[in-house]
């Protein structure tokens, strides 16, 4: 790690360093669903407590109005946080840059999580 270490930084980690899987994919023709999956329960619970991923933060990160977020689920059996948004237009319409919806997750890699939570 090249960044200078100080007290504040020690309590924050990027989501990409905490999660096993961060992915997005179509859920039918009109939605894209995001899965953030953790290896173990402790990390999953810590991220939930941190408030880094909430209905509000997800909408803010993706710049979407709250009504476009159709589902936000904490899915305990898989240690996963899962949320789903409505597309602007159905998948594969002319102008859609991602027919499979598989490259929409990148902004979540850098989400900062307060690991002291």
């Amino acid at each position: 790690m090249n960044a200078p270490m100080n007290a504040t930084m020690n309590t924050r980690k990027k989501l990409s360093d905490l999660a096993k899987t961060i992915r997005s994919k179509n859920a039918g023709t009109d939605k894209i669903t995001f899965d953030i999956i953790f290896r173990e329960r402790a990390t999953y619970e810590m991220v939930k407590r941190s408030g880094a991923l909430t209905r509000e933060s997800v909408c803010r990160i993706l710049n979407v109005a709250p009504e476009r977020l159709t589902d936000f689920v904490e899915y305990d059996p898989a240690f996963a946080i899962k949320f789903t948004i409505l597309r602007v237009r159905p998948s594969g319409s002319a102008g859609d840059g991602d027919i499979f919806g598989a490259q929409q997750y990148a902004p979540f890699l850098d989400v900062e999580v307060d690991i002291s939570a």
Binding site: V73, A94, G95
Partner: protein, 452 residues
């Protein structure tokens, strides 16, 4: 009642070839059924509207040949859903012919082939709407209007277990399905053998994407599902993969907005109270699933409507001033197209890669474009000739954009090709709806024949 076992070698048959090693290992365990789905709405609306495949024929034939030879050698049924990516009638006929050809090529002993169709006549849908039975929108869509139906080129209905069960009851050895719920293909086998609905549909749910329910990640490997009246066990067949509690539970949420509920024609699989345990090194056991029958029998419809003929052009930009003003460049090219063709009757779509080509307005970094951009231009119009000229105008006029302070006055963009390329026509998903039917088999006529 003991158990039965089903193997699935591919989550989308034909889209990429199955891996033969794990498939053959699975076949050697002598499963009771071999099954796979061959379709997905992931591929966008073009194949359905255009009545074409997204997969190369050689890959489809490869998988069908592997599965048919194994199934006939073992003497067990083989089931395929959503033939040829979309499950349209022409794709079912194509798969039926491929099966006949493979059988002839290998001199297979006679077997019974069954198939069913799932295209829906638009007049039938119109009659439902006019008869007061609304065709309901899914995922925040409005109920279907006749205008939207008129704009639709082709519709398929999503079959549940019913046509598969009927053809199994008629003794078919090989079944080729029109558009199908992927989980229903596998559930039909278990229901046909008398297993309860909840376990049967869960078996389908966990098998439908083949090795996507295993870890480490690796697609197109075979998995095996075993069902008893109480539980489903799923095993990875590739020696380097395992079905773990995490991978199997994680798969329940793949490609769906809600990880607890799976809707199929006739009801809903409820996974809320599923319990997962590691039964052995590569096997996970699942119990506690539930099935809630639907009060009204509704079938999902997928429809695709043609927007127009389409050409694609590309342009690169390296000048930082032009990059900062790329929207003005695009506006200029649009205005030139408007001067030539008027304000309506054509479309131009610009994807600006290097800025927000992938994520559009959701891109958090759209104010920080890279040092070079690639602009992909799509021109759409009623005829090929016009689409080509619309796309050419929308692409080439970027070269002549009049930015006030540009230093490079010899040309505003770079070209890899000084031409525009014909692409598939543009379509859009017009139907993502459900329609009530009185008979589960109403939309899915079945046929059988002896092959060989």
């Amino acid at each position: 009642m003991s158990s039965i076992r089903i193997i699935c070698p591919n989550g989308h048959l034909g889209f990429a070839p199955l891996k033969t090693e794990s498939f053959h290992l699975a076949v050697e365990t002598r499963p009771d059924f071999i099954a796979a789905d061959s379709g997905s709405d992931d591929i966008g609306p073009v194949p359905l509207g255009n009545d074409s495949c997204a997969s190369p024929r050689a890959w489809q034939e490869h998988d069908l040949e592997q599965m048919l030879l194994a199934a006939r050698r073992l003497g067990v049924p083989m089931l395929i859903g959503s033939a040829g990516d979309t499950g349209t009638n022409s794709r079912v006929d194509m798969y039926v012919q491929i099966i006949r050809d493979i059988a002839a090529r290998h001199g297979l002993a006679p077997f019974k082939l069954g198939w069913f169709y799932s295209e829906v006549d638009r007049d039938l849908i119109r009659a439902k709407i006019r008869g007061g039975s609304p065709v309901r929108g899914l995922d925040a869509r409005e109920d279907l209007s006749e205008a939207e139906l008129d704009a639709t080129s082709r519709v398929v209905a999503m079959a549940g277990v019913h046509p598969f069960v009927k053809l199994l009851e008629e003794g078919c050895d090989v079944i080729i399905g029109g558009r199908s719920s992927d989980s229903a293909i596998f559930a039909a086998c278990a229901l046909h053998k008398g297993y309860p609905q909840a376990q049967s549909y869960y078996l389908g749910k966990v098998l439908e994407c083949a090795s996507f329910c295993a870890e480490p990640y690796g697609a197109k490997e075979t998995v095996m599902g075993e069902i008893t009246p109480e539980a489903v066990e799923v095993t990875a067949m590739a020696p380097w993969q395992r079905c773990t509690v995490a991978s199997v539970a994680g798969h329940a949420m793949y490609e769906r907005s809600n990880p607890f509920h799976e809707f199929v024609a006739g009801g809903m699989l409820d996974m809320t109270h599923c319990a997962y345990e590691q039964a052995s090194d590569r096997t996970t056991r699942v119990t506690g699933m539930d099935f809630v029958p639907a009060e009204e029998f509704r079938v999902k419809l997928e429809g695709s409507g043609k927007v127009g003929e389409r050409f694609v052009g590309m342009a690169g930009i390296r000048d930082p001033y032009t990059i900062a003003n790329v929207d003005a460049v695009i506006d200029w090219a649009r205005r030139q197209t408007e001067e030539r063709f008027g304000p309506e009757g054509w479309e131009l779509h610009y994807s600006v890669f290097g800025r927000n080509g992938v994520m559009g307005d959701m891109e958090p970094l759209k104010d920080q474009p890279g040092h070079e951009l690639c602009v992909v231009v799509q021109g759409i119009a009623p005829t090929r000739e016009m689409a080509e000229e619309v796309c050419m105008t929308g692409t080439r006029q970027m070269f002549y954009a009049r930015l006030p302070d540009v230093k490079g006055t010899a040309g505003g963009v770079s070209f890899v090709l000084d031409e525009v390329m014909q692409a598939s026509p543009a379509y859009r998903w017009t139907l993502n709806h459900t329609m009530a039917v009185s008979d589960p088999l109403e939309l899915f006529p079945t046929h059988t024949a002896t092959v060989g």
